[in-house]
């Protein structure tokens, strides 16, 4: 298994003192070469990432409604104070945590089970199963949402008929979030299976064969060989889930609940979008953006450290 580590190659340093001192121009030219190589990448990074980031930080201390003809007023830390004192942000963060926790079964547990099961099937049937599992990923989220809306309809929906309930799933505070998680899970599970499948293909079959020669049962091979070697893939999926779940749910929230009922499905991204592009409160949205950015950096850093500890690499 190839891992993502890079060898650090130190530049060979010449120990000999040059006979003739290089002129200033030559020194400059030699010095500039590495930077010239870096320049295109750095320029793009600055234009597309760091500049907007700095602009966001700048905007977060202002009040502005995004209209070119209206002035931008400096308001100090008022935007941050408002975010941290009203409950909105805390609720949105909690909803995001719910979504992430709810998504993990769909992005880690189910895909592993499906991939292990599908592995036992041979021949064409396997391709058919894999295609079937992947199919929901190909449905546009908004189109899928429309179908789910019918399925979850309170009076005529198939879900209520099957379960014998009369719930308005998407308009009840206790079930709206669950519905969104299941719909998003249905949508991304195919992708997660594909990733797990790719991880499994990367495992050298010799390990399993060797274990079997030593008398390991298929269950033991799965538990002690396949799963440990799959751990980097699973860690990757876990990281993806934590960082991207809230984004995956976005189109569905926008189509099905618009963050409602009464904010029950408003997660951090939807809140950000509502502040920025519904209320056109650029300053408040920017402040929320900065807070989320910092928050996600911390989460990502923790997760990458955790992943390094927990995963087992086939070095």
């Amino acid at each position: 298994m190839v891992t993502g580590t890079f060898e650090v190659v130190t530049r060979p340093v010449s120990r000999t003192v040059p006979a003739v001192r290089l002129s200033g121009w030559h020194r400059l030219r030699r010095g500039i070469v590495p930077y010239a190589y870096l320049a295109p990448a750095v320029a793009l990074l600055v234009v597309w990432t760091y500049q907007p980031l700095a602009q966001t930080a700048y905007l977060s201390f202002h009040s502005w409604n995004l209209v070119p003809t209206s002035p931008m007023a400096a308001v100090g830390t008022a935007n941050y104070e408002r975010l941290l004192t009203t409950g909105e942000l805390g609720e949105a963060v909690w909803h995001t945590v719910e979504v992430i926790a709810g998504m993990l079964p769909f992005t880690v547990a189910i895909p592993v089970v499906v991939a292990l099961l599908v592995r036992r099937i041979r021949g064409r049937a396997q391709a058919v199963y894999r295609a079937l599992v992947f199919a929901p990923m190909l449905v546009a989220p908004v189109a899928g949402a429309a179908v789910w809306q019918w399925l979850l309809d309170p009076s005529a929906g198939a879900v209520n008929r099957v379960l014998g309930t009369d719930l308005n799933w998407l308009n009840t505070t206790s079930t709206a979030q669950l519905s969104l998680i299941v719909i998003t899970g249905w949508h991304v599970v195919g992708f997660a299976v594909l990733v797990v499948w790719a991880g499994m293909t990367g495992i050298n079959p010799d390990y399993g064969d060797a274990a079997r020669v030593d008398g390991a049962t298929p269950g033991q091979v799965t538990r002690w060989v396949t799963l440990p070697l799959l751990s980097p893939t699973l860690a990757f999926l876990g990281l993806m889930t934590v960082l991207l779940s809230a984004q995956w749910t976005f189109p569905l929230i926008d189509t099905l609940t618009q963050g409602g009922p009464v904010g029950a499905t408003t997660n951090v991204y939807y809140l950000l979008w509502e502040l920025g592009f519904r209320s056109h409160d650029a300053g408040l949205a920017a402040a929320a953006g900065v807070l989320f950015f910092v928050g996600f950096i911390v989460v990502a850093a923790l997760l990458t450290r955790l992943a390094d500890r927990l995963t087992h690499h086939d070095d």
Binding site: A54, V67, T86, N168, T172
Partner: protein, 451 residues
């Protein structure tokens, strides 16, 4: 050292490209168009966001306008966005386009956006643009003037910015067929909220279908008819001088409590706006308090299956109901004089006698030139055949304006208030507590609040 430099450079760059420029210059009178002067303008209206009667009617009107004004080319578009109700997208769509520097020339905006559209987005004052006489002449019309209560809805500080275009008052639509099944008098609609509850109970008991739905109690419904409910109970959502929010005061709390009672008694199903409109159209709901904008949809659903009845907005026992208006006015955002003039031509056409005849017949919105109803060349015969218009027209006389919330955060105030209402009515929160907490929170967003 290098890192510091880089950060500093980035911060300098950050200053560029964002932020406001100079406010718009004062508006001068715009010249008439020469007959051969070709102008093309963009009309943005949420009426184009829904297929069926809305789009068809307005496409027909635009075609007629282009025939009457061969030198003006109109591109009609719906607001950007994908909300179930395109009227929700108007202001964010306009704002995005203003941000990008290409605003549509004529925009149909809700009355809730009045303050913001005029004071923040700089809608053009029509009195300055075409002269007070021309504006007045348009309201007076060729034969039928605007209803008095409608004329000033788009005014601000004595100047007309928006020409009131399409709106309704809250109407109680009811399913006569379900009423008959429940043993109720088909011709006598409930006139108080107590009667609504009784009728709803009869309908649910007899048919097992939904009783009543009041489409004034969710964030998606906006606050136009919630304001009517609160006004009908003797309160206001905001003080008359618009400096203080009052939606947590007793009249509002009582109105919300009455509505919540319908839900807890099982007489009002927990539905979204879209679901409720669909359910009523299917014949699965006894009554719905709704704008007449949806009347066309109801009639289409009812045809051949059930009978539609319409009545005035119910009152709270012992008080008179105070209807408010829904709907929108037409504003000019064009900056080029030729386009501004063409925009005015379009507005006068869309608010003409002829246009209102079409709009009232095909959609169900009020003909703001009320005289049309008695005009044999206008809507007389149609109004006699369709009993739905009369209660709406009667309410127009004693209607009060839908008040827009002040300041740049007006949407957060309005939506916050409606979220508190929705939370209390449908999701179990205590009305007094929910409204009080929200009022305290969003009061900071008023222009002279803490912020």
């Amino acid at each position: 050292m290098k890192r510091t430099l880089c950060v500093a450079a980035t911060l300098v760059v950050a200053g560029c490209g964002i932020g406001g420029t100079d406010p718009a210059a004062p508006v001068d009178r715009v010249p008439e168009l020469a007959s051969d002067q070709q102008v093309s303008i963009v009309l943005e209206s949420y009426n184009f966001g829904q297929a069926g009667p809305w789009t068809d009617t307005f496409t027909e009107l635009i075609d007629a306008f282009e025939q009457a004004h061969p030198n003006i080319d109109v591109t009609a578009q719906k607001p950007q966005g994908n909300s179930a109700n395109p009227a929700t997208d108007t202001i964010s769509s306009l704002q995005s386009q203003l941000t990008a520097g290409h605003a549509p020339d004529v925009v149909q905006l809700g009355f809730s956006d009045l303050d913001f559209a005029i004071n923040e987005l700089n809608a053009a004052p029509l009195d300055d643009l075409v002269g007070t006489d021309a504006v007045r002449a348009n309201f007076d019309g060729d034969t039928h003037p605007y209803a008095d209560s409608a004329r000033t809805l788009g005014d601000w500080n004595g100047k007309t910015y928006g020409v009131p275009f399409v709106f309704s008052t809250p109407m109680l639509y009811y399913n006569k067929t379900l009423f008959a099944e429940a043993g109720l008098d088909q011709e006598r609609a409930p006139s108080t909220w107590d009667e609504v509850a009784t009728a709803a109970k009869a309908v649910t008991d007899a048919t097992g279908k939904g009783g009543a739905y009041v489409d004034c109690l969710t964030k998606a419904a906006k606050d136009w008819c919630f304001q009517a409910l609160v006004r009908s109970n003797g309160g206001r959502v905001i003080s008359e001088d618009r400096t203080r929010l009052t939606f947590a005061e007793q009249p509002a709390v009582d109105a919300v409590t009455t509505m919540k009672g319908l839900v807890t008694d099982g007489l009002m199903p927990n539905l979204t706006q879209t679901q409720a409109v669909e359910a009523f159209s299917r014949g699965d709901l006894g009554m719905i308090l709704e704008s007449s904008a949806i009347q066309g949809t109801f009639l289409k659903g009812a045809t051949g299956k059930w009978d539609l009845g319409a009545a005035a907005m119910p009152s709270f026992t012992g008080r008179e109901a105070v209807p408010t208006n829904s709907g929108a006015a037409l504003f000019v955002f064009a900056s080029d004089p030729a386009k501004q003039r063409a925009a005015w031509e379009l507005i006068t056409f869309l608010t003409s006698e002829r246009a209102y005849t079409t709009i009232a017949e095909k959609i169900g919105y009020l003909p703001l030139r009320t005289g049309l109803v008695d005009d044999p060349d206008g809507l007389k015969s149609w109004a006699e055949e369709n009993p739905y218009l009369r209660p709406n027209l009667a309410q127009l006389d004693r209607m009060e304006p839908w008040v827009s919330m002040p300041g740049t955060s007006y949407l957060q105030i309005r939506d916050g208030m409606m979220e508190a209402v929705e939370n209390a009515v449908f999701h179990g929160a205590d009305p007094a507590e929910s409204l009080r907490a929200k009022q305290d929170e969003v009061s900071d967003l008023l222009p002279d609040g803490d912020r």
